[in-house]
Symmetry: C4
Subunit: 247 residues, 4 copies
């Protein structure tokens, strides 16, 4: 049954899960995650007329982007607690900060997703872009936007790296074997790497080399660095972990 459980969860069966029994921290966190995605979608006005109904359908793409991002964070949270089952005060404190940052960024994320959908909708000719509804669309505001989301993304992944660092600190008590220790260290580094991209974007935005939209466009596109970083890092770690498992 052990092999089936690990595999049906799609996780690496070489890691023995300490957190199969759901704890209250996870039940509480699941309720907050569920509230976040639900209120993101259902905090809009209720369509009373046909016109309202079609207007509300315009938000489907932005909502899809936001829900996907939140679920990615939920999945990281789910894997962490499945692996270690930690419930100590430090983990609860870090978990609270994670949930707080998530909640603070639900509505700003909705704003950003609508804003980007309006821009890309126009670029791909799907809709007629009307950015005026977002208020004063200035370079200063775009810079603040990038700083705002850079801080949010940075905080989320920093907290995850601290949570994995916490698990690493309790490695003897959790009785982690050498493979599991390596896996934990890789998670710390992976999340620190995920932190570094928004940090870089933040720095570029604050330096603001061109003093105009080019800065914010660059700091926006920097987020595509996630793809190569994760591919390269994934290759390095999987090579090492295969060697560890053979030993």
């Amino acid at each position: 049954m052990r092999k089936v459980f690990e595999t049906v969860v799609g996780l690496n069966p070489n890691f023995s899960f300490r957190g199969k029994q759901q704890t209250r921290i996870e039940t509480f966190s699941d309720a907050v995650f569920a509230l976040a995605i639900t209120l993101l979608v259902l905090s809009s006005t209720i369509p009373e007329t046909f016109e309202d109904l079609w207007a509300s359908m315009r938000d489907v793409i932005p909502f899809a982007i936001c829900v996907a991002l939140i679920i990615v964070i939920w999945y990281q949270h789910y894997i962490f607690f499945l692996k270690y089952g930690l419930q100590d005060k430090v983990t609860i404190l870090l978990n609270t900060i994670l949930l707080f940052v998530l909640l603070v960024y639900v509505y700003p994320l909705k704003f950003l997703a609508r804003f980007l959908s309006e821009i890309y909708g126009g670029i791909f000719g799907i809709i007629e872009t009307d950015l005026s509804r977002f208020g004063e669309y200035s370079h200063q505001n775009l810079k603040l936007l990038m700083v705002n989301y850079g801080l949010g993304a940075f905080a989320i992944f920093l907290v995850f790296s601290l949570m994995y660092w916490r698990a690493y600190k309790m490695k003897s008590l959790l009785d982690l074997n050498s493979y599991e220790i390596f896996d934990t260290k890789s998670s710390i580094i992976a999340n620190l790497l995920m932190c570094s991209v928004p940090l870089l974007s933040l720095i570029i935005t604050l330096i603001d080399p061109w003093g105009n939209f080019r800065t914010t466009i660059l700091s926006g596109f920097l987020y595509f660095l996630y793809v190569p970083i994760m591919i390269v890092f994934g290759r390095i770690t999987s090579k090492k972990s295969r060697r560890l498992l053979q030993d």
Copy 2:
């Protein structure tokens, strides 16, 4: 105790459940389903006067229709995870899409239920129909309405069929016996059949043979096809499964 559990759940005792232990995906999904039915009912304005109170009671029938539909989807979700207990990334992705479609359609469903209740309330002489509060009641808007809900229903049942297809793909790992494999394949086909009705309705609406209300009335009544389809399909599968169990 095994026989009692299967039977108290009202499920076919020949299927051994892999998902008796609740997982976080189910806890998270239950919170979203609970939010969906609650916000559907409680997102209306709070009655401050007697007049508000009676006006709010007018929504009871539309709400009952919506809550019943959402619970039918919840029950399908409940049975799927009880049967297979899957928690891998693909299942989580499909589950996220299912919850997202559900949330996007909560308010539109409320609109549709109110709109249909207004029409049928008038036909049965219960209330004086006043469709003006729904905005411009044109053939074009009704067509968009049918397309909108056709897509929603199509998406929900397509995701369920993909989830059962996922379970079918993991049949050796889940150690499904021949009866359970047959049951899983039947579920894939059942959900594909459930997909086909809204698809048919969508196509009729887009072709719009009459160019007036007759098209939307026909595409609406097509949904009654569910009854004969499910009865016939149910008979076929139960005959085959009895034969399988005897063998």
Copy 3:
């Protein structure tokens, strides 16, 4: 450990619980109950000024009445599923109706509690009664109020009696002993008795013997019948159950 569990739950240790393992129906229902009491309190406007803050505190008593009523219903729900652990389609259908009636009555309950608090607050000289904010305060509206809440209370306890009736029907499958069968039958009758009071109040209101406020005052005070009914019924059943346990 068995004795401790029953006793820490404060339940009659002679009844062996079939539902100790939480099911998804209970997790889903708990989320709806939690949403009901939370939205009842938090659906008010957010205090932005000191004046708003004091105005919001005026609602504490009405909210306390509503939350107490909802928790009484939650406790009944909790005991039922703890006793029988049923998860079949009929139980899920009855549970859905129960949750639906609960949700439909959250805001009307808030209205009624505010209305009664305004009246009794004035009678006891705590506040200056101002019923004008509730709209047209006529005999006709009060009658509708009594009919409205009579139907709600009647529906809640009727569903509970049907749920216990369902458990009674599955007594052999649930392997209930004679004491447990007696306990289940008592629960059916108790809930039917709880149904009878709102039914009586409804009938009196519809007959409306005096054609003025005296009718609604009488149909309101009929609810105090709950106390003697439950005391007398409690005595009868505990006598019989003691005899059953001795045999």
Copy 4:
């Protein structure tokens, strides 16, 4: 495994937990706590323009204060039920009162945190203080504010002390050893001490020795007494518990 569980929970491994299996009271309470912190953050208006977005970011500090306070209460709730696993009627009643007080104070807490942030933001020169948006900022209103929050804090910790008193009353049934009895008695006293500070603040506010802002400033700063009280009390109890464990 026992030692690991206690330690990963960060609790004193000398206390054997009776409540490892999550009960419905905890699932229900977790949903209410999750709703409290989510609605606290997400009950604000949704930012539609850049200006709204920056205005909404101004609330981050006040929200952080409120979420931290609510999580401290959640942690106390979590530890209580983990230790004793009680589910009897008295515990459910006390738990309901706790959740009710929590819900009633979510919005007032949001008001207080915004108010204090405005004042301290001005003192530390971070923002330009504008207290006019809070309505009439008089000595009378500040007194009512201190009374209001004094009652809330008093009620929360009084309920916790009653819950621990309930566990103490069931010590033989829960089979508590001498160390666990001492730990339970300490929790009663600790919560009564936590009650005493808001009580003292309340009394000072009602006596109102200076008849001006000095009274409310004093009654506000009294809350800093929590720190020395908890340090001294912590030292006394840990000395006694070490001696008990040695015996």
